[in-house]
Symmetry: none
Subunit: 206 residues, 4 copies
């Protein structure tokens, strides 16, 4: 029993790894099956087609993806700048614990936009809502002289850039960064702090 439940699961997890690293085109159903320790036919038994398996991987990650994009802004009650700090930090942490997700997401979803209309609609709605809420706060805070004014969308893009890009570039950066990356945990801590600092200074009234 236990085994059979996990077989379907195993395939999904193997697929995730394979798709995350190699993308849809580069992934091989045979290789996914081998990774999962099941026969090739089994994969088709459970998921019918490569396409559908891929969609299941997307489904499984879609809420994470959305969280990845938006958890950084606009939640509850704390002074605006404090709240922003926390948001950036937790956003960074989400990405850090799913480091392949940004690459996969940008790569696959961008190269096959037609497939993600639904998700995009969702994101679009959430995005606009959050942006307008945050913009109101920014307008207020800046009128009160607490922060420098900025377009909420620009702010968002800066945060996401700073938080996501290092993970996308990580495999590449490793060789260039010397000892900075020797201890990865410590690097991530520093990087998170740096991102927060950068954004805070961007908003600080001078």
């Amino acid at each position: 029993m236990q085994d059979k439940v996990s077989k379907e699961q195993l395939i999904l997890e193997s697929a995730e790894q394979e798709f995350f690293i190699k993308g849809f085109d580069g992934a091989r159903t045979t290789s996914i099956a081998k990774r999962a320790g099941v026969t090739h036919a089994m994969l088709h038994y459970y998921y019918r087609t490569k396409e559908q398996l891929f969609e299941r991987v997307i489904d499984k990650n879609v809420s994470l993806i959305i969280a990845t994009m938006f958890s950084s802004l606009g939640k509850a009650d704390m002074p605006f700048l404090d709240r922003l700090k926390v948001s950036i930090s937790s956003h960074f942490d989400i990405v850090a614990s799913n480091p392949l997700l940004p690459h996969f997401f940008l790569n696959e979803i961008i190269s096959r936009p037609e497939r993600y209309n639904m998700m995009q609609n969702k994101l679009e709605t959430s995005a606009k809502e959050i942006f307008s809420k945050v913009q109101i706060e920014i307008d207020e805070q800046s009128k009160q002289g607490n922060i420098e004014w900025i377009d909420a969308r620009m702010l968002f893009m800066s945060i996401v850039s700073l938080n996501l890009f290092p993970f996308i570039a990580l495999p590449f950066a490793k060789r260039m960064m010397g000892d900075l990356l020797d201890n990865q945990d410590s690097f991530l801590e520093q990087r998170k702090a740096e991102n927060i600092e950068t954004i805070m200074r961007r908003l600080k009234k001078q």
Copy 2:
């Protein structure tokens, strides 16, 4: 003669387009040949294998890729902060005129890191050299009280994140950003200014 040179060239250019958009795995040699208006066999006549053709595309772009990564730091003679501004700006412009390059490059390297050892060696050397040069300047400037101290590599990563990520995410951001992206040129100008502003503020002594 003229013709033959340009035929080889045509294939390379078609390959570039195809590889940039679809990646190595998604690209089809037949499709590249068709795009170039040559027979499929011709492509192999000139470039032997898909792999080699791909490498030629990389070669052709490698200096651009390096520029994309590094032109952001340390060149001419000007006060440090002014020079940095110019560097960020011109780096942004390079990326802007090759908007598909970052995505392609990061994408392919992640899925086949073994292929880029040579290039990575090159980059590693340049990187370390530049970082140490810039670090010296930063140390000096900060000692003189002109700027806030920062690890040159962190600074570099911030700049590259801010300058590259928007292009990687552009096709995706379109739906979320509303009217901000209606006029793309104007958006890019704003974004460039924002990135410079963000970095300047990060370094500004308070």
Copy 3:
């Protein structure tokens, strides 16, 4: 108990429908099982293989098939021509109430003749017996000047051709025949009458 019997039966009936419409190669055991509302494995539990299931369908229909081929000649006691009329008519009716059978049967035999040796033996014996009986009658009747002489096998082939072919071609004929087929019952009546008329005239002494 009742249930189990009928489950086996259900499968057989579904198989019949599927095989009749799609043929052996086009039929899918999964689809037959679904049609019958049983699990796929159940089908194999009862009938072992697709091949054996197919044979059971043939077995179930073999007497009908034979009737379809042979009921057209020689049975009860009536004057020869009257008897023939009745035979042709009832033969036509049998076919009419199993319109898919001729097509299926001829079709499968042509593509896999080796499978029907047994049945063919049976048919061969019956056929020869009937032909010789009928031939004797024909010889007699023609000697008495009641009918035109004909080889019994030729007569048989004419009858079967006229009675079977319309059903084989029916789905195809629909488009060509215009209003003739608008009312199918009435068409079948006309066709039956026509076939009888054609055979009667063939035998009529002039």
Copy 4:
């Protein structure tokens, strides 16, 4: 050169044999390729898909099929009954020289009607035209007391039934018919004569 031209042709001919005997579902592209003495990939090189190869086989035979259906009726100047005799005879001959065609035609085309709309349209038009022309002749001749009246479509169906069915049933009839089929040529002659006789008698004024 000669060879290459014939390779494409060879595949088509092998496909025809395979499709004629086994139908679309039963046919195997590997088997067709083997039959033609080419690699399996070659088949796809020339014909892309099994479906398209099948269509080419249909195309190749479609005019023959139409001839098979209609050459029997309504051509030029000869007394009506003589002309009819000739038509039946030549129709029989066409079928005799393509004995697998009727089976294939009825089997495949009937089981996938959606694919043959175009052909059906063609046939429909030809059919209706011919039927009405022939009907006029029949009406005339019967008014003049030369023949028994009959619906042209019924006449057509009788002819086609008599001429086609023996070929469809041939593999099946072989065992039952005894010595009648020992000499196939002679049987076909007899059968043709019988069909003509049957139709002539059907029309003969008594």
